[in-house]
Structures are given as C-alpha cells and as structure tokens.
Amino acid sequence: MAETRAKTIGQFLARQGILVAFVLFMIGFALANGRFLGIDNIMGVVRSSAILGVIALGVTFVVISGNLDLSVGSMMSFSTIVVLDLHDKIGPALAIPAMFAMTMALGALIGFLVGYLKLNSLIVTLGMLSAIHGLTLTYSGGKNMDIDDKAGTWFSFFGQDSVLGIPVPILVIALLAVLLSLLLSRTPFGRKVYAVGGNGVAATFSGIPRARVVFMCYLISAFCVAVAGLLQASRSLGSQNTVGQGTELDVLAAVILGGASLLGGSGTIFKTVIGVLILGFIQNGLLLVGLAFYVQYVVTWVIIILAVWLDIAAKRGRLLSPIA
C-alpha cells in the first residue's frame, strides 16, 4: 500500500514536476522578500515576460510538429524595425498590417523550405537567422529607428496602456494563449500537429498533409513574432537593429522548460506559459533577493537540465541512461 502510494507520488512528481518546482520557487522567494507576491510585482513580471511569451507560444507549435525555429529573434528585430519605420511613412493604421504581412511572408518562406522542400529545420532557420538580420540591417541602413512624434501617436497603446487596469501586453498574451491553446487541443488541425511531430511517417500514411501542417506551424510562429514585434515597438517607440538578438534561445529554453520534447509530438500551450513564467519569476526573484542579473543564467541552466532529465527518467523508469 505504502509502496503504491510512493509510486503514485513519484509519478505525480515526474508528470507535474515543473509545476511543483514552480510552486516551491514562488514560496521560497515569497519568504525571502515580502514584495515578491505583491500584485504590482506579479503584474510587472508577467508584463515583462509578455514579449518572450508571445514568441514562445508560436514556437511551441513548431516544436510540437517536430521542428525548430532559431530565426524568431532576427525576425522580431525585423518586424520591430519595419513597423517603426512605416509608422512615420504611411501611418500606424497601415503600418501594422503591412508589418504583419511582411513578417508572415518570411514565415511562409521558412515553412515552404522546411515543409514542402523537407530541408532540415535547424539549418534553414539558422540560415534565416543570419539572412533576416542582414535584411533588417539593409532595410534600416544600420541606423536606429525612432518615431518622430512620440507623445501624439496612438501606436503606444499596445505596449504602454492598460484596459480595466490590466496592461495591454498581458491581455494580448492571455488572449493569444487561449486562442492558440484551443486551436492546438480542440481542433483537427491541432491533432494533426501532434501527429506530424509524433510520427511523421505514420501521419503521412494516415492521410495527413504533413507539408501543409508544418507550413502552417511556421506561419503561426511568424504571426506570433509579428505580435511580439508590435508590442516591443509600441513599448519603446524606437529600436536598435539587434533588439531581438538571442531571443531564439531564451524562447527555446522556456518551451523546453514547459516540457515540450524537441523530438516533437509533445507539449502544450499551457505548459509553455508555465515555462515562460518560471523564467520570468526566477529572474525577478533573484533580483529581489539582491543577486545580480547573471545569476539567473546559472540557475536556468540547472533547472533546464533537471527538468528534462527527470522527465526522461520518469519515462524510461530509471534515473541514469542505460547507454554503456
């Protein structure tokens, strides 16, 4: 009896370990600093994680379908720069759809290369990381982008305003998370994404258009990047060319922390959100405790390895790998 109970607890820990760790962290930080669980602080953390989070939502689709996307950082720089530049040229009402169209065209290109031409997603998106960065620099001529009339534009709404006391970035990521979560868990398309990532060959034999599903995943990812670019541009109203550089790896860290397997076929939007929040709260908690910002890197390292290791260990039923 006691044994089965221990086993159940073990299984629970293995399955929801990341949530348990999250709760433990929150309690620890809350005890160390009274302000940590204050509503202002929590809002602040969620808000500053929103941009990373929005991208992570899209990348979750790509990862579940069994691919990777390393180009999201460059792509976010691109959309931020483009929307800021067009803002003064054709006005915000036209600039936003134009930016979405351009960013999603890039996503479609990647989707075509990975989906229809079946090229390795890691290398394609690595190439696109470099190429889109070059594109951004060419577009901006290497200069920083700024909006002329910073006080008078309604464009700042997305990044700076609040609705009913809740900052808009939080509303955006919440809305997007709910919609994408429904898409992934409640629609035939969502099931196809899991099927393609879980076993591509089997999916093809059961009549699922693998290429089109992969293509759509990259399109969703690009859409999310465009949203993130919009939030970033609207928040700062000016930007360097390198604003998104390095985001791709933070995003992957969050997605992996949420428990999505890089081999594809597993992961959920909810877990990705948890992964993003864990990264955000650890960063914030360590700062509040008085540690320098770079300590979070080391902590993140340990957490990522432990999270994935325990997940794998639970699946194979033993702690250490059986490889000789």
Partner: protein
Amino acid sequence: MKPYLKQSAIWGFVVLELIFFSVAGEFLSLSDKAFMDLDNMLLLFKQSAPIGIIALGMTVVMINGNIDLSVGAIFALCAIIMLDSMKWPIFAGLGDWVILVGWLLALLSGMVLGLINGLIVWKTGVDAFIVTLGSMLGYRGLVFMYNGENPTSNLNWTMVDIAEADILGIETPTIVFVICTILVWLLMTRTVHGRNAYAIGDNREAAVNAGIRVGPHMVWNFVLIGFLAALSAVVFYSASGSVNPNDGTLYELWVITAVVLGGTKLTGGSGSVIATFGGVIAIQLLRKGLGHIGADTAMVNLVIGLILIAVLFLDRQLNRKGKEELRT
C-alpha cells in the same frame, strides 16, 4: 570516389569565390590592391583561426551525432581564466613563465567544461542540443559572475610577441589552426576513436550492438571541443589581452554554419575535417570579398544565410538516390 567528390565541392566553391571577387574587385573595389595578393590571403587565414579552431571540434561532435551550443561561452570563460590567472599572487614569482601557467589553466578549464557537458549527455540521456543550450546560458552566467560586467584585461608584451610571431610570414594563429586541422584529421581518419565516432553517429544502435562503448567516446569528443574552444581563446586573447563578458556570443552559430557549409551532416555519421577547413575559409573569404567590393556587413549576413540554405538544398538534391524519402 564519391566521398572525394563531395569533399572537393567546398573547394570548388572557394575557387569560385576567389575568381568572382578578383574579377568583381577590378571594377568595384575602392582600393587599388588586388584581392588575391599574398598579404591579404595570409590575413584571411589568421582571421579565420578563432572560429576555425572551434569548428574542427564541432565537426567531430557533429559526426558523433551530437551538437555543442556552449562553445562561445566556453571561449569567453577560458579567456577570462587565462588573463586573470596570470595576476594571481601565487604565481607572482614565476616571471614570464606565468604565461605558460595561464595557458595551461585555460586549456584545462576548457576540457573540464567540455567534460561536464559530455558527462551530462552520457549519464542523463538528455539530448546534446538541450544540454549545451543550458550550459551555454550557465557558462555565460559564470563568465559574468567571475568579473561582473567589467572587461578583464592583462596585457603582457611577451605573450603578445608569441601570439604575433611568424615563420616566413605565417603568424601563430594560422600555424595553430593548420596544425590542429591536421591532428584532428588524423584523429578522425587514422584512429579507432575516429572510426567509432563515425559509427556511433551513423547508427547508435548498431554501434552499441557492435560492442562500441558509446558513452566514453561521446564524452571524449566533448572534452576535445572544450579543449579546442579554449585553445581558440588562448590564441586570440594572447594577442588582444582583453576580454569582455559578452565576447564569443553567437560564435556557436558561426561555427555551425562553417561546419555545415563543409558538408558535415547534423544527423551524424558523415563529414570531414578537411572540408570543414574549407567551409571556414569559404566564409571568411565571403566576408572579406564582400567587404572588398564595397558591400557592408548586412550583405554578408544575408548572403551567408542564403548560401547555407542553398547548400542544404543542393546537398539534398544530389544525395537523394538510395535514400528516397517518403513522398507526400
């Protein structure tokens, strides 16, 4: 015959670049100097050395079926350890011998960092991509913890003299790069370890069944790339004498680009050290060449990205036979 043909593809590309930039340079270049003069080519080799030395290790790791994203952070951490350790009070009485101590400490640290990666990959069974993605963050964190956000400097003129010494005009970085290429090539083509590394990358199950101890081979390869990342730092920072905590960021991406350009497969089991050498030269040539004809860095990024994808596409088209994929 076929493997030689594949290996020589990258050299064909290098020759093509040389011809293109020489001709285009005649019309577009702002300077009177020819693109292909000796000084320029020697400089090219010297500038490729930091990325190139790491790329050799990445080739081995990728042939083995793994990947290492933490090389940039290892590079920076070892550079800091090298420069800082020379100022430690316990080594105060050593005079210029302290340089040797600093170098050895840096190389040792690189091997230890690689060992940590390798042991985690082996013992936990977590994919190398995730393990080294984590340690890329973790090691970078250690870099910052070492000296905050300040640069670490230690200019030692004897060290600079050694780092910039030359034999017949060929400078130290180039010499180290070439010697390393030859040694790693010998390791991969003439030793049991190399043969096993190919076997493991090609088919891990089969390698296990053939009695190859997969784990230790993988660990040694991670130690090797750690060592080479540290060596790259030693070569580079002995001359410059100052390291910023952000140095080496994105190196992993440049290195992987060079290796893939050289034709090494991400899936493991195939690849060549000599072809990686060619890939490194090709990238550096592209950078210099585009600069020569007046293009800016933006164009370099764009072109390298597109070439990478084109190479992948061509490679797939040429190697389709025999491995016909499932058509959809």
